[in-house]
């Protein structure tokens, strides 16, 4: 008698890779063939994966069309089988998959649009933290400014692309009255901040300097090192302008004072 482990191994191979020889010997025919019975589970598995990816990547499905999307979902499942019992994670590697699947094609930009859609899902389910009361920055001594850490809210993500992914995303929303199909892929890069509001996820494009500064904050840089890094990357960077813009985003949850290896939270609102 096959062990439970061997039975499950054979079942998994029959569903995912179509290698059903071992499994066929374990299944009763009962009116329809063992292969037909296994096929029901294959169909269920593919339909469930497809439905989950469709819910996560509606723009990619619209861009590629239903047939292409279905094929890509099948290939994705082969190359990146699910590693979690929680379907929320099923599509996590789909942008990486598309990057390789569509490399050197006219559709290479799909990977960046997919990265934007995945960031949307992450923001949708991230922990809630209100934005910090930035007025309290007045209590910080000027000599301490460079040691400030601006900690973004958990429900904030950033995606950068050489393609105009924000315009592509906007034009492919159900609410888009007249989809703009005149978007030029060489229209220039797009730097998008995604942030959850009370009842929706807001996407907005940021200027290069503001994006870079915010990105540095997300990586844990102090204001001083974030400013130096951004200025090195972007010669026309204006710290005052960009910092003001960051402040108006309501994307910062905590402001901490970094003292070597330790940090002290000075502004926090839960």
């Amino acid at each position: 008698m096959p062990s439970l482990r061997d039975t499950q191994t054979a079942f998994c191979a029959a569903i995912l890779s179509g290698e059903a020889d071992s499994m066929l010997q374990l299944v009763r025919d009962e009116g329809i063939t063992a292969e037909q019975r296994i096929q029901i589970y294959r169909n269920n598995n593919r339909m469930a994966s497809l439905a989950t990816l469709q819910a996560t990547y509606p723009v990619i499905e619209r861009l590629g069309g239903a047939d292409w999307f279905r094929q890509s979902a099948t290939q994705y499942q082969i190359r990146f089988p699910s590693r979690s019992g929680d379907l929320q994670y099923l599509g996590e590697k789909y942008p990486d998959f598309l990057r390789a699947y569509l490399a050197d094609t006219d559709y290479a930009y799909f990977a960046d649009v997919a990265a934007l859609e995945w960031a949307y899902q992450v923001v949708l389910t991230a922990a809630e933290r209100a934005s910090a009361d930035l007025g309290m920055l007045r209590t910080v001594a000027p000599q301490d400014y460079e040691r400030l850490l601006f900690v973004p809210r958990p429900a904030v993500r950033m995606v950068e692309s050489q393609y105009p992914i924000f315009a592509i995303w906007q034009a492919n929303q159900p609410s888009a009255v007249e989809p703009d199909f005149q978007i030029r892929l060489d229209a220039g890069p797009s730097r998008v901040l995604l942030m959850r509001r009370t009842d929706h996820v807001e996407l907005r494009e940021l200027p290069e300097g503001t994006y870079h500064l915010m990105r540095q904050f997300q990586l844990g840089a102090t204001l001083g090192s974030a400013a130096i890094s951004t200025a090195a990357e972007i010669p026309e960077f204006d710290l005052e302008v960009c910092l003001k813009e960051v402040m108006t985003l309501e994307a910062i949850a905590d402001i901490e004072l970094c003292d070597g290896s330790t940090t002290n939270t000075i502004i926090r609102r839960n």
Binding site: M1, P2, S3, L4, R5, T7, Q8, T9, F11, C12, I15, L16, Q25, L26, V27, R28, E30, G31, I32, A34, Q36, R37, I38, I40, Y41, N44, N45, A48, S49, T52, P81, S82, R83, S84, G85, D86, L87, Q88, L90, L124, T125, A126, A127, E128, P154, A155, R196, D199
Partner: protein, 291 residues
Amino acid sequence: MKVPFIDGAASARPIPASAGIGLRTPHQDLIVRERPPVGWLEVHSENYFADGGMQVERLMSVRSTYPLSLHGVGMSLGSTDPLDCNHLQRLKRLVGWSEPAFISEHLSWSSVHGTHLNDLLPLPYTQEALLHMIDRVDQMQNHLGRQILIENPSSYLQFVHSQIPEWEFLTALATESGCGLLVDVNNVYVSACNHGFSANRYVSALPAGHVQELHLAGHSRRRYTDREILIDTHSAPVCEEVWALYEFALNRFGPVPTLIEWDIDIPPLEVLLAEADKANRRLERAHALAA
């Protein structure tokens, strides 16, 4: 080993022996806003594992009005892989803040060698599988510190090496682990049709004292050359044959909280509430008989 904590849901609002519905995304706003009269709500546990967001906030909102049941689909209890501690921990966190009256999972497996098939796959009903499931249910109940319910699956194949009828397997599992049973009446009907056993015999053989929740749902039919196979799709109204089996089950188990499940092609809320009313009419008759 039988767990000592049969009544672990002391802080939860008890679920009445009436009909409930699943809280599904298309209806969430309406239910949060209007609080329609329905006995209780069930949610898929994994949909609320998130750290935050609108989905979680809606559940936090409705739990003040409705008793809750958490129904898991991703624990892969029957898998020979180690139990996913991260999944279990997130379930425990959800149980902590949502305070459900019931926590349920399935007599099934979904993963092996770290790969998840995200489906409720059938087990071979062997002595090895029974001991394995008893151990898994034991682990889960001990981790959560309370009893769980185990649901019978719908299935489309049977293993040649299965030795124990499903109803005997469930009875032994409940007796040995101390878990409760969630009897999906539609699943009993689907599997009975697909494998040629008597649905009434299945229901009659289950230990009534362990049955704490019933499920009702619709299914679809797929025609093959020689016969038809029923597929548990949760995409249609409950059919007459399943209503008849439900009445038989109520006669056997008495009035038990009953869920209307509808997960695909979800209709307007009124349709779900109308299905719940049909179940409630049958439950009222069962209450009268039990009085």
